[in-house]
């Protein structure tokens, strides 16, 4: 029996959910793989929900909200878009970014809803089952991503992105998009790497070189992250074997 992907859809109550009902009323057919969760606004979808879904093996996740400007809560969908960008950036590290999608569907677009769902289901089908089911290493990476996405730094940047880019920052100036992006991208990359180091050390104490080979990045970069983690007392330096210090995870981190 051919593989049937499981798809999860978050539909905002005012637009995309109504669009889905319209598709039903108009008896439009679309593949039955999607399971829908109604949320009051697409902005309500917390990145944690997507990570949780991926972790339990769901093959594709789609978030639908109102077209920009239609949002019943005025800006919910704009926030959703920012959060989705962050999600995409994180998942590109483990190339699962093609398993999530954000679409705008208004209450009157029953047809568009059906097309999006069937197109998305087919694209997931081509991708095959989610590799997370058996790839343990990938699951660890996702664990790190979830931890990184939850850090105060990333949530602050995502939360404030729109105000300081579109309207004005505290100095009354607009921050150019590229300046924000390169700060945001370095933040994403750094936090991801640091969380992977933390989780790896949680399992057993390691040296910089071992971590570098595990994370496939240059040891000097690992050292920089190690220093910052040591500064915030989440890891400490254990004893030195020969010329190589071993770092340990500290509970109080």
């Amino acid at each position: 029996m051919s593989y049937e992907p499981t798809i999860l859809g978050f539909l905002c109550n005012w637009c995309s959910y109504a669009g889905a009902d319209l598709a039903g009323v108009s008896r439009l057919q679309y593949p039955p793989n999607i399971r829908v969760i109604r949320v009051m606004c697409s902005g309500r979808v917390d990145p944690k929900f997507v990570f949780e879904a991926l972790k339990i093996g769901i093959d594709g996740i789609i978030v639908m909200g109102c077209h920009p400007g239609d949002c019943h809560y005025l800006e919910g969908n704009y926030e959703a878009e920012k959060k989705f960008n962050m999600l995409k950036k994180f998942l590109t590290f483990i190339n699962l970014d093609n398993r999530i999608r954000l679409e705008w569907v208004s209450a009157s677009e029953g047809m568009r809803f059906a097309e999006i769902v069937s197109e998305f289901t087919n694209s997931i089908k081509e991708l095959g089952p989610s590799p997370l089911k058996e790839d343990k290493d990938l699951l660890d990476k996702l664990e790190a991503i979830e931890m990184a996405a939850d850090s105060y730094r990333i949530r602050a940047l995502v939360g404030r992105e729109r105000t300081i880019i579109e309207s004005e920052n505290v100095y009354g100036e607009k921050v150019p998009q590229d300046k924000f992006d390169n700060i945001f991208n370095t933040a994403i990359y750094d936090e991801y790497m640091r969380c992977r180091i933390l989780l790896s050390l949680k399992k057993n104490s390691k040296s910089v070189k071992v971590l570098a080979s595990e994370l496939e990045i240059d040891p000097s970069e690992v050292l920089e992250h190690i220093l910052i983690l040591k500064g915030s007392n989440s890891i400490t330096m254990g004893e030195i074997e020969g010329i190589t210090p071993i770092y340990e995870y500290t509970m109080e981190g």
Partner: protein, 1003 residues
């Protein structure tokens, strides 16, 4: 134009801070301008400092904290000089105070904004080795402890304003334009380290494991990113083979600066020693040309490093460095002295980068209207190295020429000395004496204790249950009031405390908040303004030593806070009001020694209308400089000397006693009494004075080796200088040989006399100019022409003077053959070179005569070091003071040095002395030791233990032989009371009873 009693100091490094403290204590209003966001300069970045290896932070932070809260010093950070006008005695300066976007008065430095800021930037304080947030403080112990927002990194997201409970973040704070009206200016902007340019041959910037010395300093530092563990940046491993390369960017015509940066030899050796000390696996190797360890105890430091720590010196300059891409190790190729090419693998390379002028040197020169020398450092007068080309503006520290910390501190005091000379009538005019209410008499009252517990935003309140601690404190015995507030150190809470003192008639105040080291004097001032004696105050440190370090154990942290408060209350019950003893000061000075140093000091005192007495044991003034004609830099010493002697003899405030000897000096700071015998009729003169400056100089070594005294063709360098300057018998000499380090750097005198290399090269160049035909060879162990003197060493080589190195293990030997001398030199390449010469000149060093110095040392009760020179209180922080207050040292008596350094030290000694003479009474420390006469059995142990000679045994009518403490000299350290068997000595503020009560507070 009327002079103003205020001074502007540009740059708040160790130099600027020292000058500010000197002038602040001498009663001038000081505006201290700093371009970065906190004071301390490069010294705050260092881990340990040579030659004593003591920790830079331990030494510099008490001085910075004192500068930060000194009543007469206004500190302005993050400033830029806009405009300067006026002339000596009356300048007006416009300063742009760039905004920190954080209100300095409200910010308590708690650091929550720094933690929450989402933006990470390169941490320049840690030389790029670590990351720091956009809102940050330079380093944890910064003074003032104020966070600043770095505008070019900040994206203005507003998170920090959200988390700041003190509402100190004000993004819209504009830059402020401020104008100062001052009488004099001191420039101490420090230096900039040389950074090897793109594509340099050392691979810096390309290879990760090639670091500069200042980066290595941060790696070494216990408060640095690696917390004191020596790791290499490429993979965090411990580098077992570390190479240190000297003269990077110095003594280099192509890639760096032609001059020598003076300090790299010493700090490199220190870094090697400290690296070995931190981690025994590290084996340091230093590649150097000359090892220039010219200062006091520097040579001993190098020898100690080689013997004790196995530091290896290789005398060669590295040609190229290549990196093994896999292991990231570095392959160094170099040529040894005997010509072999060696390539060796090292795990890490440290480049001892030189000192460049500060980046804004031209900008400052143009604004202040001073000239720069050819290397863009401040051009200063040959015989007064702090006086710039514009009167009223002085320069000190590395901005004048590259120098180490002791010399910088000395020059800072010297600059302050010159300001004293300029503005002495105006001391005390601009400083505001605070009017305080009379003290309430509390003796005899039962203790009524008020406890104020602080939340410090969330720093304490977030982890310690402050209301619970307050409830607990309120029912401790004798506590009549327990209160808690968000920020106890904020201005409004100070008024709350004052009101509560009146309302509840409190006679003891306890604040449970942060560390007393930085906040005790703030609260002491507050309760003094409410009429309470400032010592009726105690602090319990429930932040830095409780809530911040037990964040994950709130229950235990709260219990600990209660214990700490109870111990503080126990101690508070036993504290008594203390007065700071006032001592009268006789505004006169005694200067011992009539050489250049003594005369400069005496003249400086006299020109400030202090009656001064100058004592010289010889027939006439002049001292060591009598037989020196010129300095290496070309100044004529004889003219300067004669002009100085003329001024000294003509100044009416100055009594000169030649052929004089001091019979006895007694008394203490402010109240010395000296009797001296002078003239051939041995008249006796009594003189009482407030301070003493020891400028007794030193003697020239009379060589015993190299046939000196046995063969007329062997003369000393000073005789040779007389010959070439006054006669021309050199005319018919075909070859002259000079031998360096005669009587210096050997077993008996293991130190460098610092001026012989300069003297030899000066005479050699002068001889070459007068008689080009003469062939001159100089046999040396290390040519130590440090700083800008390097230019003359190159000039000598270009003039054809031959320099031959000999090894100290087998020095040259001299054989007389009829009218000539044969000098056999065994060079490091092991073959012997014979030179026939008509004249052999020995560069004789300087030595201190033990008997002479010991007599004076006994009278003044000051120590001498094992080389018989006088030992100063602290090499770096008090280089011209003695441990015993009120006595100062300058010139050759302190250690061998060239004339310009002696002049600087003379002015520095005067400036330090003026901090005492400028006041009519001085306040001694309140918390001093006190003797319980009934218990003391006069065993004399405390007299020996006291480092400040503050205790002596006296015969008391009732109690017999007992100890008695001179409150003026006592510093309150308690070394005496620690050893006292019968607990007869107590330290006020830390008495046995108070500590007993704290021990009892265990419960």
């Amino acid at each position: 134009m009327e002079k103003i009693g205020a001074v502007l100091i540009v740059g708040a490094g160790i130099g600027g801070s020292q000058a500010a403290l000197d002038l602040g204590d001498a009663g001038y209003k000081v505006y201290l301008i700093e371009s970065t966001t906190s004071i301390g300069g490069v010294m705050a970045q260092l881990d340990k400092t040579f030659p004593t290896n003591d920790c830079a932070m331990c030494i510099v932070s008490p001085k910075l904290v004192e500068t930060g809260r000194h009543q007469n010093i206004d500190l302005h950070i993050n400033c830029k000089i806009e405009e300067v006008s006026g002339e000596a005695g009356n300048f007006t300066i416009k300063i742009l105070k760039k905004s920190l976007h954080i209100n300095m008065d409200k910010c308590t430095g708690c650091g929550v904004c720094g933690q929450k800021c989402p933006v990470e930037a390169i941490d320049m304080f840690n030389e790029g080795l670590a990351k720091v947030k956009a809102t940050s403080v330079k380093y944890p112990q910064a003074v003032p402890l104020v966070y600043a927002i770095n505008k070019d990194y900040c994206i203005g997201c507003g998170v920090c304003e959200g988390v700041c409970k003190a509402e100190a973040v004000e993004y819209d704070l504009e830059d402020q334009e401020v104008e100062f009206n001052v009488g004099a200016i001191i420039l101490a902007p420090g230096f900039e380290e040389f950074v090897p340019a793109e594509g340099n041959k050392y691979g810096y910037g390309k290879y990760k494991n090639v670091v500069t010395s200042i980066e290595f300093e941060r790696i070494l530092s216990a408060s640095g990113p690696y917390t004191g563990k020596i790791l290499r940046p490429s993979d965090g491993d411990v580098p077992e083979q570390v190479a240190f390369l000297q003269c990077i960017g110095s003594r280099d015509l192509r890639e760096g600066q032609p001059y020598c940066s003076s300090v790299c030899c010493m700090y490199t050796c220190k870094e090697a020693v400290i690296a070995k000390e931190h981690m025994d696996q590290v084996n340091p190797t230093i590649f150097s040309m000359d090892v220039r360890a010219y200062g006091k105890d520097f040579d001993k430091y190098i020898i100690h490093a080689q013997e004790e720590y196995g530091v290896q010196y290789i005398r060669s300059r590295i040609s190229s460095i290549t990196e093994d891409s896999k292991t990231k190790d570095l392959i160094l190729k170099y040529e040894t002295e005997d010509g072999k090419i060696i390539s060796e693998v090292f795990n890490m390379v440290v480049l001892a980068v030189g000192l460049n002028p500060p980046n804004d040197a031209e900008y400052l020169a143009e604004k202040f209207g001073i000239e720069l020398n050819e290397y863009k450092f401040a051009l200063t007068d040959v015989f007064n190295p702090v006086q710039t080309t514009r009167p009223g503006i002085f320069a000190c520290g590395a901005f004048q020429s590259p120098k180490d910390i002791p010399e910088t501190v000395t020059q800072a005091s010297a600059a302050a000395g010159c300001v004293n000379q300029l503005l002495y009538e105006k001391t005390g005019t601009l400083i505001t004496e605070k009017t305080l209410p009379p003290e309430i008499y509390v003796a005899g009252q039962p203790p009524r204790i008020g406890v104020f517990i602080c939340h410090c935003g969330i720093n304490i309140g977030g982890y310690v249950d402050v209301p619970d601690v307050k409830k607990y404190a309120s029912n401790l015995p004798n506590v009549v009031l327990a209160d808690r507030n968000l920020y106890t150190c904020s201005a409004d809470t100070q008024t709350i405390i004052k009101n509560k003192i009146e309302e509840f008639h409190l006679n003891r105040v306890i604040v449970a908040s942060c560390t007393p080291r930085t906040h005790e004097s703030l609260f002491q001032e507050t309760i003094r303004e409410a009429g309470l004696n400032r010592y009726l105050f105690q602090m319990a440190n429930i932040r830095d030593q409780c809530s911040w370090v037990h964040m994950h154990q709130p229950k235990e942290a709260t219990q600990k806070a209660k214990d700490l408060v109870r111990m503080a209350v126990n101690k508070a019950r036993n504290i008594i009001p203390l007065e700071r003893i006032k001592l009268s000061v006789t505004p006169k000075a005694l200067v011992i020694g009539g050489g250049i140093t003594g005369m400069v000091a005496a003249l400086n005192f006299a020109s400030q209308e202090y009656e001064t007495c100058l004592v010289e044991k010889e027939m006439e003034l002049g001292g060591h400089a009598k037989h020196i004609y010129t300095t290496l830099e070309g100044g004529s010493v004889q003219d300067y000397l004669s002009d100085l002697i003329q001024k000294v003899n003509s100044n009416e405030n100055l009594h000169v006693y030649t052929q004089a000897e001091i019979e006895n000096i007694d008394g203490f700071i402010g109240n010395f009494k000296t009797t001296l015998i002078h003239g051939d009729r041995k008249e006796r003169v009594e003189f009482d004075h407030g301070v003493v400056v020891v400028a007794t100089g030193a003697n020239e070594y009379q060589p015993k080796e190299y046939l000196y005294g046995k063969n007329p063709l062997v003369i000393k360098q000073s005789d040779f200088e007389k010959l070439i300057n006054t006669t021309d018998d050199i005319k018919n000499k075909k070859s002259i040989v000079m031998i360096q380090c005669v009587g210096s750097r050997d077993e008996e005198r293991p130190y460098c006399s610092k001026m012989c290399c300069a003297e030899a090269i000066k005479n050699a160049i002068l001889t070459k100019e007068k008689y080009p035909g003469v062939e001159i060879t100089i046999l040396f162990r290390d040519i130590r022409t440090y700083g800008f003197k390097e230019k003359y060493y190159r000039q000598a080589r270009e003039a054809g003077i031959i320099f031959l190195r000999y090894d100290e293990k087998n020095p040259p030997n001299v054989i007389a053959n009829d009218s000539q001398l044969k000098v056999e030199v065994n060079t490091p390449t092991k073959e012997v070179i014979n030179i026939n010469t008509d004249l052999l000149v020995l560069s004789a060093g300087i030595y201190a005569d033990r008997e002479e110095n010991e007599v004076l040392a006994m009278m003044l009760k000051v120590p001498i070091n094992d080389d018989n020179f006088f030992l100063e209180a602290h090499v770096k922080l008090r280089p011209v003071d003695f441990a015993t207050e009120g006595i100062f040292v300058a010139g050759l008596a302190h250690c061998p040095k060239p004339i310009e350094d002696s002049i600087s030290q003379a002015n520095a000694a005067v400036s330090r002395a003026c901090t005492i003479l400028s006041k009519d009474e001085i306040e001694a420390e309140g918390k001093t030791a006190v003797v319980n006469m009934a218990r003391c059995s006069g065993c004399g142990m405390c007299v020996e233990n006291c480092a400040y000679n503050a205790i002596e045994l006296i015969e008391d009518r009732r109690f017999g032989l007992i100890a008695s403490i001179n409150q003026a000299l006592c510093k309150g350290c308690g070394a005496c009371s620690g050893n006292c068997r019968c607990a007869a000595i107590d330290v006020l503020g830390f008495t046995g009873e108070q500590i007993y009560a704290m021990i009892k507070g265990r419960l």
